[in-house]
Amino acid sequence: MGTQLSQYFPVLMLFGVAAGFAFGTLAFSVIAGKVGRRTRTKDIPYECGMLPEGPGSARMSVKFFLVALLFVLFDIEVVFMYPWAVNYRDMLKTNAPLALGGMVSFLGILFVGYVYALKKRAFDWRS
């Protein structure tokens, strides 16, 4: 029991470090910073230099997000294929239909998603 709990000591340490970092930085800025002394100059984005023009955040086309999402989606799904490919030879010995069928159905679903994205013109930049 005790030994089992002690295995989790690193986790506890991680908790401690995470909490310490969060509170520590906050505390440090409070202690080190000059709290409460604000002037107009201090509040502008760049205390010295050019005055910024226009809105602070430039608007990007939503298409960037769409493509990024699709990229992440299809890219990450490929990750699943690595462990499968590595273990495929072993799995053939025990349960071949499941090994192949599982991946085929996975790819099938992925393919439906691809067709869907294609037909919905998600890859068509100009539309």
């Binding site: 089992q4 439906v112 067709v115 869907y116 037909k119």
Partner: protein, 494 residues
């Protein structure tokens, strides 16, 4: 090892993919027809899955997946719910400007998640199926993306659902760490040792937190009113029927399949949760003016009633939970079908918008009244008999632990409060003045059929509860209930 056991799930997923693909080639006008087609195919799957597809019970994937009476009971309801929700969505299409077919497909994917949940015999499968449900609902809830409340509902469900999932997966990690397995049956085999292991207990508690979120039990219920109010009506309906039932089947499986011994130590916790959930839902519903929000609180209160059956920790209690869910299913779907039928003519969900419905559409008003009367638990509707069964189980438990009498009192108070807020709606329909210059409301044939199915269920199960009761009783035969209730008497005395 029999992979053909998951035929039903595979067919549902294929249907979902098919709908998604079909939408790419059909004309937008024929999307409602696609919904009808999907609903009827689902009907075929339901008819087949009752016998032909998976005739034998068994388990698959290394005991991860089981097909038993409990799973079959819930699968039947999930499939029926899927059919009705799709019909409802067709009715609701005027408020879903884009993506009707995607709505069907997502409903089907959520349905697949529920079907897996009904059969989950492993913490991992449980988590994955719940995630499939939850992630689909993120999208379904925020489907009306031009409407702020819908987006708000989606975001709230996303964030709180994410928190709940995080707790749950953390809990599963702790369970795996202490028990070295995630399979319910294997956990059950070593629960005597695990019952004293705080790591395991913490993990189990966190898993229950995640399930508590799904069923909207106190104190994890806060999302329910906002999400119910904001989401599109079919999504809300599916959330309150399917998602809640999935939560309950998993709750039953974990509590009485994996750890019955520990559950008997936690009886007081379940009792307190049930009592507060009932009171919270009922009291908050009292001042409500928005009908869907009211239903959100009502759903919380009903989760409390269902927890009564769980807290009773007996076969009667669990079969009462199953029976109540069956009746709740028809009742809630009837109410939401009415809401969907109204969606083309009435543009908000306030109770006052229902004023004069008794004259504008006597059929819808009657259907809604029957649904509400059933929720309030008045004979001969099914709601009455469901509550009767749950309270009977509580009374039975009270023989061993007198603290249950308090629970009984709380339940009765909740029922009395619920009469007030449900009848408020009925009063608006029949005694409220209809706004000037409104017309009669036409009800389409599919909506009529869906409503008739629901009302027939509400009345039939209320008048002849025998059949479903026997089915429910058979379905919980595999669960284990710790015979000794004696410790709970002691703890209850604290």
């Amino acid at each position: 090892m029999n992979h053909s056991l998951i035929t039903t799930e595979i067919l549902v997923i294929l249907l979902g993919l098919g709908v998604l693909l079909a939408d790419l080639w059909i004309r937008p006008e024929s999307r409602p027809a696609l919904g009808w087609l999907a609903a009827s195919l689902l009907g075929c799957i339901l008819a087949l899955s009752l016998g032909a597809l998976t005739p034998h019970d068994g388990s698959a994937f290394g005991g991860m997946y089981v097909l038993d009476g409990l799973a079959r009971y819930f699968k039947g309801f999930f499939l029926l719910a899927g059919i009705l929700v799709i019909l409802m969505t067709v009715e609701f299409r005027h408020r879903l400007p884009v993506g009707l077919s995607e709505f069907f497909a997502l409903t089907l994917f959520a349905l697949a998640g529920m079907l897996f949940a009904a059969s989950a015999n492993d913490f991992i499968l449980m988590f994955v199926s719940l995630e499939l449900i939850t992630v689909t609902f993120f999208v379904l809830n925020s489907f009306q993306r031009a409407r702020l409340p819908s987006l708000e509902a989606g975001v709230k469900y996303l964030i709180l659902g994410g928190v709940a999932s995080a707790f749950m997966i953390f809990g599963i990690a702790l369970i795996f760490g202490s028990a070295n397995t995630t399979n319910f049956s294997l956990v059950a085999a070593q629960q005597a040792q695990l019952a004293a292991n705080p790591v395991f207990l913490t993990g189990l508690m966190l898993v229950l937190v995640g399930l508590g979120f799904k069923i909207a039990a106190f104190p994890f219920h806060l999302w329910a009113p906002d999400v119910y109010q904001g989401s599109p009506a079919p999504a809300t309906a599916f959330l309150s029927v399917g998602s809640k039932a999935a939560g309950f089947v998993l709750l039953l499986r974990v509590l009485f399949g994996a750890v019955p011994q520990i559950t008997s130590q936690w009886q007081v916790l379940l009792m307190v949760t049930a009592a507060i959930t009932i009171l919270y839902g009922s009291l908050c519903a009292l001042p409500q003016r928005n009908f869907k929000r009211l239903l959100g609180y009502s759903s919380i209160a009903n989760a409390g009633y269902l927890l009564l059956g769980v807290a009773a920790e007996s076969r009667t209690g669990s079969s009462a939970v199953l029976y109540y869910l069956g009746g709740y299913f028809f009742t809630v779907l009837a109410i939401f079908t009415v809401l969907c039928s109204l969606s083309s003519t009435i543009d908000n969900d306030e109770i006052s918008a229902l004023n004069g419905l008794g004259r504008r559409s006597p059929f819808l008003a009657a259907a809604l009244s029957i649904g509400l009367v059933s929720l309030a638990g008045i004979p001969p509707m099914v709601g009455f008999f469901g509550k009767f069964q749950l309270l009977a189980a509580v009374l039975e438990a009270a023989r061993l632990a007198p603290a249950f009498y308090v629970l009984l009192g709380v339940a009765v108070v909740g029922v009395v409060l619920s009469l007030y807020y449900y009848f408020n709606v009925i009063r608006a329909m029949y005694w409220g003045d209809a706004p000037a210059g409104v017309s009669l409301i036409e009800v389409s044939a599919p909506a009529r059929i869906a409503l008739l199915v629901c009302l027939a269920g509400v009345l039939y199960l209320g008048i002849a509860p025998g059949g479903l009761l026997r089915l429910a009783d058979g379905a919980v035969a595999g669960l284990k209930f710790s015979p000794a209730h004696a410790p709970s008497v002691v703890t209850a005395a604290h």
